[in-house]
Structure formats: structure tokens, C-alpha cells
Symmetry: C2
Subunit: 210 residues, 2 copies
DNA sequence: GTCTATAGATTGATAGAC
DNA sequence: GTCTATCAATCTATAGAC
């Protein structure tokens, strides 16, 4: 088995299990069994279970964050060149669309986005700490652009509205593809485009409220 | 130590630790040490760790759900007697206000609401399963009343908008009282009344969008 | 780099004295 | 109901042969 193959298999397997069962409820044995590699390989390649978690985030978040950052910078620059303000929906779309579309990016990243949804609400956890470290700069960029887009809104209110939007997105990610106790007559769409459109409608409207 | 005292101390201690460290990352020993009771008391009083988790939810959710259910029924009945439709903001308020105000209910329930926020995004977990079992009927009631409030909206869109609203609420609960990497110049309010008002504004606006 | 074997700690749960 | 003591399983991590 080639060098990088084992690492990749461990990353895939970890991603799958962390997303479905949670970090603390996933053992290294479960990971290596699923990956078809030796138990000791984890500590050889990654050093520790927590370092493995960090690597799982790193692998997906570096390219995803690049797309989101580029999108946001384009929105900001375009507005500057036009001498106008960035659009609220545009700014939110620049962040949300690549996030929800990520599972379709063909890299086998379906599990990862579930892990992201989970990481967002671990109040004081290993998982959340690692995640925050990777996402904080991008969050600040989004906040800054929305400040430009909505200059009349107080920073405090904007901060909370952005939190609401992020919470809505995270929960949508968690729910997508599942169906816990649906009300009668509801067969919710699960395609990414519809979900993105509905979510953007919802959060843009809430964000723009006077 | 009186009979119910030990049970209560275990419940308090579990609530605190489950909320902060998560279910799988909390050991029975940590719980009993903090409670100042014997390790064996957990299995004597509750039978298993999972049954203890269920009891933690049960203790808080029975009274909280009664308030939310009563509120929702009042909104529905008042509208019926007036021959009008239930209000969207009223309906959401009936559910959201008691939830966010719960930590102030003087029962020492600050930790519990954090646990609720966490439970909402555990995709396939013990915690989520237990939580869903306790909350599903109330969710259906809220959905039904919102259907009456917004008869022109398709059930699918309403379903997802309600999910967005619940996600926003859950995330707000998780964030309240914490301060992870705040942008400059932001000192977010943390009092329940302001947060409730902002959240209700946000989700009502999004829900009512045509 | 990969393997076996195992150390060393911690886990949930229980048996049995009081 | 509460305690001590402990079982049996599981865990992360590592040492050392190949």
C-alpha cells in the first residue's frame, strides 16, 4: 500500500465515522478497521486522535475556504469598482452556496459537511475548538462585508443576525438527507439547489429587515 | 442523604457535564464525583447511562413543553374565536420565548438549554435520539399552527423555513453567554429579552416572505 | 511503513457487605 | 440506599520485530 494511500484511507474513514457517530464516540479501532489498515498507522501518520481530527478538517476546509474567500472578495471588489455597496444576498450566497454545494463537489465530501454541522454546536468540545480555529478568519471577512452591505445596522444586531443565519445553515446541513418525524403531507425537497434557494431567501430577508 | 436528594444531585451534575463536555465525553465517575455521591448510585437509581440521559431531558422538558404547548394552544384558540388566522410572530413567540427564557426560570436550568442546543445537531447520536423522542409532538403542533397562519405557503417550504428558524434558535442558544472570536467593535448583548426580540424579528421576517 | 503485541489508563456496570 | 471492590471490556498510545 503506497504511502499516501493509507493516510487517505484513514482520513476517509475518520470523516465518515466522526460525522455519523461523533468524535468521542468513535474509536481508533473503528477507524482503522473501516479503513482496512493497521491500528498503529494512525499514530504513525498523525500522532494522535486529535491531530487526526485536525487533519480531517484541514483536508476539506482549505479548498472550501479558498472558494468562499475568493467569492467574498469578488463581491467586495465588484461593489467597489461600481462605487456601490455589496449586496446582502450576494454576500450571503458567496458563503452559503459553496458550503451547501460542497458535498456535490465529487470529492466524496458528503460526510464532511455533516461533520461541519455537528462541529458548530459543540459548546466546549475538542471538535468545536478545532473547527473554530479553521473558520474564524472567514467568519470575520463575511462579517466585514456585511457591515459594508448594511451600514445602517448596528454591529451588535448584525452580529446576531449573522449568527442566526449561520445557525439556520448549519441546521439545514444536519437535516438534509434525513427525515426525522416529518409532519403529514410533507416530502421535503433534498436537492441542493432548491435548499440553497430557500435558505438564501430566508436569511436574506431576515438580514435586511430594517 | 434523603432518597430524592441523591437522584437530584446526580441529575444536576449530569446536566452540567453533558451540556459542557457532551454525553460520550462524560464518564459516570465524573458525574458522581461532582455530585458527591457513590459511583454505584447511578445504576441503582437510573439503571444505565443512557437512561440517566433520558431522565435529564425528562425533568426539564416536561414542564417546558407544557408551557410551550399551552402557549401554542392559546394562540390557536384565540384566533379561532376571533375568526382570524393565528399570527406568525405570535406562534413563533409561543414556542421560542419560553425556550430562551427557560434558563431564567430559577430552577438552575442554565445548563439544560445548552444541552438542548447541542442535542439538536447530533445527527445519529444517542443524545439526538432521546431528544427527538421528547420534542417531536410539540414540533408537529407548531408546524400545524404555522400551516394555519400561512395557508398560501406550500408545506415543503414551510417545513424548511421552520427548520431554518429552529436552527437559528438552537445556534443562538449555543452562542449565548459565550464569545468565540468576536469581530472588532462587537459587544453582543446577552440579555434574554433582547436576544428573543432579535431572533423573533429575524425568523418572523423570513417565515412571512411571500 | 507496516505489523504484532501489549502497556497503562479508563470505561460502564455489578456483586455483595452493611 | 449506600458503600467497597472489582470485573470485563474498551480505549489511546507505544515499543520493537520485520
Amino acid at each position: 500500500m503506497s504511502l499516501s494511500d493509507t493516510k487517505e484511507r484513514i482520513l476517509d474513514s475518520s470523516e465518515y465515522l466522526f460525522a455519523r457517530k461523533g468524535f468521542h464516540n468513535t474509536s481508533l479501532r473503528a477507524i482503522t478497521d473501516r479503513a482496512g489498515v493497521n491500528l498503529a498507522a494512525v499514530n504513525y501518520h498523525f500522532g494522535s486522535k486529535e491531530a487526526l481530527l485536525d487533519a480531517v478538517f484541514q483536508r476539506r476546509l482549505v479548498p472550501l475556504n479558498k472558494v468562499r474567500r475568493d467569492n467574498l472578495e469578488i463581491v467586495r471588489e465588484t461593489a467597489r469598482q461600481e462605487g456601490s455597496l455589496p449586496g446582502v444576498e450576494e454576500s450571503l450566497r458567496a458563503f452559503i452556496e459553496p458550503t451547501l454545494a460542497f458535498p456535490k463537489s465529487g470529492t466524496g465530501a458528503e460526510d464532511f459537511i455533516t461533520l461541519v454541522g455537528r462541529a458548530m454546536s459543540d459548546p466546549n468540545d475538542t471538535v468545536r475548538d478545532v473547527f473554530i480555529r479553521h473558520i474564524a478568519p472567514l467568519f470575520h471577512l463575511l462579517f466585514d462585508i456585511l457591515r459594508e452591505a448594511l451600514p445602517e445596522l448596528s454591529p451588535d444586531i448584525l452580529f446576531w443576525r449573522l449568527q442566526f443565519a449561520i445557525g439556520a445553515m448549519g441546521h439545514a446541513i444536519c437535516m438534509a438527507g434525513k427525515s426525522y418525524s416529518l409532519p403529514d403531507g410533507v416530502t421535503p425537497v433534498n436537492d441542493v439547489e432548491s435548499l440553497t434557494a430557500m435558505l438564501l431567501d430566508f436569511v436574506t430577508t431576515g438580514m435586511e429587515r430594517p
